[in-house]
Symmetry: C2
Subunit: 395 residues, 2 copies
């Protein structure tokens, strides 16, 4: 009748290593999602600084702050988010409502609802290609009568009707900086800033838009926590988003909120205590990691007859005070002549990427995560080198 | 540029007391939601037994178990859920897939998707009145082309078409045991067992349906964790539900999962160690609490000229081995002649309930939570007594 009793030692080891297997040159490399395990070593180095202890009777209520528009947001997390944006300088938080979500994924859906209901006709949602492959899926899954996916923003004819444009900057999959392209009178713009953090890109300005989305997953790497937040100027929109999240999940995990508060606090402490070791500044650490990976990738593909990579300009960063390289979270590979399906070609190397079609562009493109654990990344590089050699030798 | 630094002491005290204010006879009593803070004292008594420590580098990945249908479910939580149902005897877990959700609210929506896509015509969803007031809201919010709300199951004419019936047993709001009532050939049934736990009702049989929903909120009282689970027989349905949760929130908080694993483990230990004090058995403790509250409520309304209460039969319980009373999570109040709007009448007593119309029935009914903190509950009873006296005295 009963399973094995759970003792303290049988609790999850909770180190996320469960999915790591011993890699060989024959293993399938699943690099199709952006699981950000690359940042684990930093948090391991932090030792007990980020420990969070939760007691049995803590955090039992649905409510965090009945006086706030977003009543399920723990006030301390709201404060931590404001501090983080202050430290990084990537977004204005003054005169903004913070709406919390189970990842920015849930917030995106909350926004679709908040920006369209009760429109009598479905509102078109567009994003310029290559666009994040989950946008069309999220928009289309329930065949909503409030909104529908209208594809590439570049080819969209707004025709005076209401529409929503999603601007993802830096863009997933290609890492480029983006601005709205439709510029119609009845348009609303969602700025998805999942990757607007110093490890990926120069912070070129303090973003000051009406609707901005962020996620802990791609900032600190804590994807398992499912914490995202929106900075929203208009109170009515913030209220409708809150209503949506109340109806779709009655709020957001309090345990994750407490953990996120702690992690963000330690991150900010590390950035502000300039006297400390460089290794205690998360963004320096993670930027160095990304820089090394991009260096390895560019070197591996330097003489490749299979793939080319997009070149990003150096830009001045308000966070590092330097002209810095763009170091995207994904390698956006373009195949050279003779290879028509990039993802298919990768599959031959036992690398699982995501093909260009999912992002609204040609299959000569494919996206591969740069955020995997070290051993997976090194295998990825090795296979690219072998493939290049193979083709150079006429195989 | 920067907010106040976060130190350990400025972390959330996380005891959920933030929303408790000093109550006076003039305070507004918000008893319109089922926030289950009534169970806090049990978990406070457990001291450090349920402590969970999470380190900075724990649980960073999106994935928990890539080999499981529900790849974001921590295997230890899956084991704990099976153990819990084994201990209580309220549901079969053999040959079932466990799908995890951000509360059972998210799972309900995952089921609507899984049971309808890709139907060409919207599928009707019904539930017998009085039905849980959130069902119509969840179904209608996005104007989905996959399903629509068709109201009271008793008056539904299925006409040979596909439909979904939601059976909530014991039923929110009225605490009655329910069975499916439509019985059409093309119907699928969702059993919502949020309240099928020994503190509320006799466990009359081990439920063995194809689709069953449960939530931690109403079992242990940990509503802030947003943990729900579905027991699903059909693998295709479990996969589609998992897909929905992946698209709508990329899984479920790992921190909440670790906490739920611990809490459920301690609960099961307490139930199984028969030699221990009664106070260590959560269901005995919580049943006693509910029994005392119901006794107070029935006493307060014994000579009431305003309200009547539904009478539930005693039933034999497989968990306690006794004939036990039904002790619903809500008081389902019916006004006596002369009062037409029960919720309005309650508002006059500064009690916020939820009116019958939201549950698909007459406004002479209203629902009031029985799960509030002790001081709120006692205020509620006091006001009912005063109201009754007032009317008896001809006021």
């Amino acid at each position: 009748m009963v399973g094995a009793p759970l003792s303290k030692t049988s609790l999850p080891s909770a180190n996320g290593t469960r999915t790591t297997t011993t890699l060989s040159s024959d293993s399938v490399l699943a690099l199709n999602t952006g699981d950000p395990t690359v940042f684990e070593p930093f948090w391991q180095k932090m030792g007990d600084k980020c420990d969070v202890l939760i007691r049995g009777s803590d955090l039992m209520s649905y409510y965090s702050d009945k006086n706030n528009v977003c009543w399920f947001l723990e006030p301390e997390l709201g404060d931590a988010i404001k501090r983080l944006h202050g430290v990084v300088g990537n977004a204005v938080t003054d005169d903004r409502h913070i709406v919390l979500g189970t990842g920015s994924t849930q917030l995106f859906q909350a926004l679709l609802y908040a920006l369209t209901a009760p429109e009598p006709e479905p509102v078109s949602v567009v994003s310029s290609a290559p666009y994040y492959s989950l946008y069309p899926e999220m928009i289309e899954i329930l065949h909503s009568g409030l909104y529908n996916w209208a594809g590439d923003a570049y080819t969209f004819n707004e025709d005076g009707r209401p529409y929503i444009e999603v601007v993802n900057s830096p863009n997933n999959p290609d890492g480029t900086h983006r601005e709205a392209v439709v510029n119609g009178g009845k348009g609303k713009v969602i700025y998805d800033f999942a990757y607007y953090w110093p490890q990926y890109t120069a912070i070129t300005s303090t973003a000051d838009h009406d609707i901005m989305l962020f996620t802990l997953s791609k900032c600190t790497g804590h994807a398992g926590s499912r914490i995202g937040w929106a900075l929203v100027k208009d109170k009515d929109i913030a209220e409708k988003m809150t209503d949506y999240i109340a109806i779709s999940s009655i709020g957001v995990s309090k345990e994750s909120q407490v953990r996120a508060t702690k992690v963000i606090g330690v991150l900010c402490d590390g950035c502000e205590n300039v006297g400390l070791a460089e290794s205690e500044n998360f963004f320096e650490f993670s930027r160095n990691l990304m820089a090394k990976r991009w260096q390895k990738l560019r070197k591996a593909l330097k003489h490749s007859e299979c793939f080319t990579l997009f070149k990003h300009p150096r830009e001045h960063c308000l966070f590092t005070f330097e002209f810095t390289k763009t170091l995207p979270a994904y390698a956006w590979l373009k195949c050279k002549e003779g290879i028509e399906d990039c993802n298919e070609f990768l599959r031959g190397l036992k690398i699982v990427g995501r093909g260009g079609k999912a992002f609204g562009v040609d299959p000569i493109f494919a996206r591969v995560s740069m955020l995997s654990r070290e051993d997976e990344f090194n295998q990825f590089i090795e296979r690219l080198v072998v493939a290049t050699k193979g083709i150079s030798n006429g195989h």
